[in-house]
Amino acid sequence: MAEFLQMRGITKRFPGVLALDDVHLSVERGEVHALLGENGAGKSTLMKVLSGAYHKDAGEILIEGKPVDIRSSADAKKLGISIIYQELNLTEQLTVAENIFMGRPIMRNRLMVNWRQMAREAQKLLDDLGIDIGARALIRDLGVAHKQMVEVAKALSIHSRILVMDEPTAPLTNREIDTLFSTIRMLKARGVAVIYISHRLEEVMDICDRATIMRDGRNVTAVNVHEVTIDEIIRHMVGRELKEKFPKIKIPLGRELLRVEHINAGKQVRDISLSVRAGEILGIAGLVGAGRTETARAIFGMDRKQSGEVFVDGKRVSISRPLDAIRAGLGFATEDRKGEGLVLTMNVAGNITLATLGDFAKLGKLSLRRERETVREYIRRLNIKTPSHLQLTRNLSGGNQQKVVLAKWLLSKSRVIIFDEPTRGIDVGAKIEVYNIINELILAGAAVVMISSELPEILGMSDRVAVMHQGRITGILENDGSLTQETILYYATGGDRRTA
């Protein structure tokens, strides 16, 4: 039997690069097919070819054995191809039903929209998927997980036969991931072909049937997920053995560099007290919405604190804006790369030196030469893949963008750096590079606070773990080797065993 979707010999050239070179992909109905590879391997490009965002230079796409011509996203939609991107494509101010039927509302007559029926049909779609959301709820009131479900419902409402999910679990907590997976299984039962892009290989092993692995724009291999181990997949992805996933180093701890006491800020940050010492990595774990990012933002002065005190290196500092925090020696690498981490319209050099530009000025004149030299050094040190320090950051891949954000804070010589989801959406190889950068920092005597939703990462890298639940710290745990994911989850759900 012919495969449901076949992409054959897909080739895509960009000026100066061969992004896809003779790539094959075939997916059957009712299959969850993983598309794996490091950042820049060509996964996204391939999916953009499938969705009509890019035109292929060579190759063909067949659906049910028939060649199809996809020249625009409208073509892709007609063929039943839907993509759920990492950045969700919903209008925040509108309701769930309006988003699901965006662009093709159910009409009462030629002029009037039948709101009631639209809400009813949307509700039915949601109920069928077992999603507990009201069709009349506003998107902006929903959590990320629910928003994603709305995207799935939207895809189903246009009778999608092929659904591509790009890193769907990155912003989700474990419990939400379970819900997503049961939804995916339901899609599978309905005969939808799901292409699943993820960097979390554990999940791939869990939910996927087969996997196509790409490297440098080429196919490496296609495997049956149940017949291989994670290590084998990683080996295919990076083309080399990765010794250890978490290069944890233990060094003797120094002075206490950051202590915050009884910080309150809004609903999400309640009476937070924590401290971190030189050479230490403090992990902050918790479910989405537990207030971890908000805590970091409050400490850093991005959001207003209602009360509480911050001590840096034993001295009380008043931080009412990020500038105060930076002057006090703090750094904050945000989780929201595109929204807050980078100025995408600026080049690599401009972004890296943004927080420390004063160091490159003499009598008010910037020394572009000195800036260039420093930036080049950091590009080398962090192994940032960019044609030049003048490349615009929006043209870099996710992992390299993240490294630019890190470089900015490394350059700032901050003594305490808060990393919010430092490895979100970046590939295995780059993750290890990021961990090594963090290690370098603590070796140099800095203190690190690392917020992460990935429990293996928290367990693999932290010395201590602060667990948050509904804006409060429910436990600060010593990571002495006996700490388990279950214990963290127990505290993350408020210490209530029934929900843990």
Partner: protein, 432 residues
Amino acid sequence: MKKRMKILLILCLVLGVALLGINLYTQGSAGRIAELQAKIAERKQLIAQAEMARVLGREAVDVGELPEVEISSADRVVMALASFSGAFLVLGIDLLIGALALIAFHLFKRRRGERKVRKVSSANNIVGILIALIVLCLDLSIASKVFLTQSNFLNVLQQISINFVIAIGMTFVIISGGIDLSVGSNIALTGLLMAIMMKNWGVGVTWTIVLSLLFSAAIGLINGSLIAFLNLPPFIATLGMMSIARGAAYTVTGGAPIYTMPAGFTGISGRVANVPLYAILIMIAVFALGWYCLRYTKVGRFTYAIGGNESCAKLSGINLSKVKCFVYVVSGLCCGVAAILLTSRLDSALPTNADGQEMDAIAAVVIGGTSMKGGEGSIIGTLIGILIIGVISNGLNLLGVAQGPQKMVKGLIIVVAVIIDVLRRRAAEQSK
């Protein structure tokens, strides 16, 4: 070659030849048209005389007996076309050059193949508008014998000087993600203030200049403060200021203009050996300062950063309020300089001065490739944008195009410039 390119090429060629043909044809029948027009004028004059005679009660020629001027419908068309003949010539030449450029671009691309890597997109952008400027100058020099003369060149420089200075300030504002609609009113108000200081209060020229620059900068500072500290949208804040300053300009003199400034002041726009030396020096200074500031100073870099991503800029420890105030103060200061140039050139200050000036400045900045979304743009781009606008209005004047069509042409060019920018961005997205 892509299909779309081919269609474009053929379109350019056909339209270009057609327009040139029309031009030649109307030129060819110029004698006949002149004859017809003379006849029409003569008849109109006779009718007018008859009317006059009738009013005065004298005996008059019966108008009904005057012979109608016979004009064939073909001649009517030719006459209508003839009034646009200059525009047709320029457009026709433009289209032909466009066609040649398309062919050249195609050959170039085929030769270079895949090797070409786009490194800095803004450079590409500037090359594009620079070519547009060169083409523009080329066909204006074909269309008009006066265009390439030295005196016309100096005229253009003098004409663009006001817009030049303002557009440089506007570049800062737009790169920072804002907009300044109050520049025209600021110029008018500052101009009046200068006139009042010199004429009524007897302040010396130097002090007048210093104080009015401070005044125009203060207007900018108010704009900036409203935007930075009260979080007003720049459009609203400066729209309000536009109206307030214009209203104040009418109020201070009761709407009356002030004439004749001291000689030391009008000398600023005077000519040395027929060259508007000081105006040119001022332009060069403003340009150099603007360019240096955006490229070599912290605050210049921060202007790009807050325009590109305000939250990231804040998170990186940039004092947003300071930078925002800075850009509006720069814009205000530029208005002050422009007010000096304008008032000294006109030798008078009017409350209606520089009305609508903000639009020309914004147009120059946008044509120069600065993104209205902020974060991208350059002073050099703006320089070319200003030159394009200046050369176009000069050229249209030389070709005898009336003010109405001139405005239409300018509007069209702005829209086309933005369309090209949008298409270019889309292409860049595609090949990312």
